[in-house]
């Protein structure tokens, strides 16, 4: 059998990802019309659901059924703070805000400033600082301190540790090797870390009322291995199994394969990028167009290969009719790359200008979001 042409782990996503294969490989479920209908009853479906950006799950059906019977839901997601936030990072956060309103749920958000110290060549004060910077982006998306608690691992480890211990006791190094691809060169901090990431699921449940509360985790699919650990541990801790709703990756600007990389600056747009810098990056994006304007008018472009079309489809053009028309026109050669890029750039710049204002205002309330505030 041929080697997989893509890799998806919590630390590496690369290649041309086949999401159908990934669903089988991870043993997760595709989100069906049934779940979409139930979600639609809670709130008009978010773009990410209408366009399949969030596409898979574990036990979302259970959460929806239990929620309809009156069971409380708590949300949990997070971020490994190793640099500034880019647009790929905020995809699950935007969706989490939508879920929060739909389920009227509290959110626990974990900043794994410890993990990024253990994995990267970064000092602890750097990852701690990025954690606070990244938190500004979360807050700027509209979360409220009364129902959003940010856990900074290095500050709040005492809250998580009893849960992490119970998970760790049941997780051998063999299991961690199999699930995360650890080996004997892995440091003992990183090999313990999965227990700490899984711990928040139970901590959040416990804080919000105990074993009758259901935890739902919106995140990108590369985080799934952590939730396998959490789900395996759940019966021993006496909680319902952790449920997830999983997203694809937003492609980078240099091509549709893999996910937006935080290490390739031109490939990503950061929330801290000057709007004009962002515009320039988009004007250089990889597209599905032809070599010349004449050719594109004649043959049309291919949206499937076009990062500009994909960014509009997956994130920036919320209007379904407008989007469909634009894709048709792109395929027909009626929309050219220059115009398409400008159309996207205007939207990205508008988003950034607004976001950056909110982001600065968030500094004043940052402390109010801290778990222990």
């Amino acid at each position: 059998m041929a080697k997989e042409s893509f890799t998806v782990t919590p630390w590496e996503v690369k290649g041309d990802i086949d999401y159908d294969k990934l669903i089988k490989k991870f043993g997760v479920q595709r989100i069906s019309n049934k779940e979409l209908e139930m979600l639609d009853r809670l709130a008009p479906l978010h773009l990410f659901l209408r366009r399949g950006m969030f596409f898979a799950h574990r036990d979302l059906n259970v959460v929806l059924k239990e929620h309809e019977k009156g069971k409380k839901v708590v949300l949990y997601t997070g971020r490994g703070p190793s640099g500034h936030t880019h647009l790929g990072h905020i995809v699950p956060w935007i969706f989490t805000r939508w879920l929060q309103k739909a389920f009227k749920a509290k959110l626990y958000f974990q900043m794994t400033d410890d993990e990024k110290f253990l994995v990267k060549d970064l000092a602890l004060n750097k990852t701690k600082n990025y954690a606070k910077e990244n938190a500004l982006d979360l807050i700027a998306l509209g979360f409220e301190p009364k129902d959003t608690k940010i856990i900074y691992d290095t500050e709040h480890i005492d809250e998580l540790y009893p849960f992490a211990l119970k998970i760790a006791k049941r997780t051998t190094f063999s299991i961690a090797k199999a699930v995360f691809g650890f080996n004997n060169s892995t440091n003992i901090g990183l090999s313990f870390f999965p227990a700490l990431q899984a711990a928040v699921a139970f901590y959040a449940q416990e804080r919000e009322g105990g074993k009758d509360v259901q935890c739902l985790i919106p995140c990108a699919i590369d985080q799934d291995p952590y939730w396998r650990i959490a789900r395996d541990a759940a019966p021993y801790l006496g909680y319902p199994k952790t449920a997830t709703i999983l997203s694809k990756f937003l492609p980078g600007l240099s091509g549709p394969a893999g996910k937006m990389s935080a290490t390739d600056e031109a490939n990503a747009i950061y929330t801290t990028d000057l709007p004009e810098v962002a515009r320039k990056k988009i004007m250089k994006a990889f597209t599905g167009g032809q070599a010349t304007v004449e050719e594109q008018r004649k043959k049309g472009g291919n949206p499937d290969l076009c990062t500009v079309c994909q960014w509009l489809y997956l994130l920036f053009e919320d209007d379904d009719k407008v989007m469909q028309q634009r894709l048709e026109d792109y395929r027909a050669g009626k929309i050219l790359d220059g115009e398409n890029k400008k159309y996207l750039a205007d939207k990205v710049v508008a988003f950034l200008e607004e976001h950056q204002k909110k982001r600065e205002k968030a500094r004043d309330v940052l402390d109010k979001f801290s778990l222990t505030s």
Copy 2:
């Protein structure tokens, strides 16, 4: 080469321990007359030093030299709370109190309620409860809250975690396997734990003034692997290497091999034993005597095989002249086992009665010793 007839690891001590071999195997130094002379200048030598109960070290000579030049010393020791305290446990604590006075040093005492949860079939509330019970025994030995801080891992993890992370980042699973005998079945909590035990050395230094403070750890020699991890990490963290002063094990009552076991109740005397229960245990102890009184009068006893003689020598008979005379008389058949046992039992009972009073009083001040009090 023949397999070693003894085992000494942090989790298992068994067999007829050859301490000379252990010194070579662990690569530690024997305490020399030079160190004894220097210690004697600080305070009249403790029984444990005069009789070789504390017998080995790492960098004790460095600590003593630096201390003579005016450098501050901080002490660190601890306990894995998996049951009540027995007399073997308090050997290093008694000695730590002596060191504390000699060096005029603060003590940081770690209660590893997490480790014992991870290693044993014990619930977390049990190990936490034993931690508080064990702390009463520490306090009863004369420590003062102003210069003694007890760290309960599950309560104070947030203080230790930044140090533990830095140690963990430099400790691969391979190293942990080699040093602690971990394997793939070891749980990921236990494999991380060494970083947490090593962390206190640096935490204590930092709290007491930073990188110019020298940390000295009095403990039984089975804990040495942890300090290898600490010493390897020290240069990266920028602290002087952790120094140790290491003890032999107090033998159990059923024979001179191994160490007093907390799982064999008749073998150990607990600080919580009723005095009369303790007396009965001693009256049944394994001795170096002969089969009959007549034979013992004729041939004499062997103190080297006699747990009663050893307990007197190592712990309960502080007077060197009296001790020497008693050993001579035992060898000569002038002291019989019955009398010898009664002599020890009287001392043990007197100790327990006094200790148990102090132990109960300690409940009132327990909280004052907590790190965060």
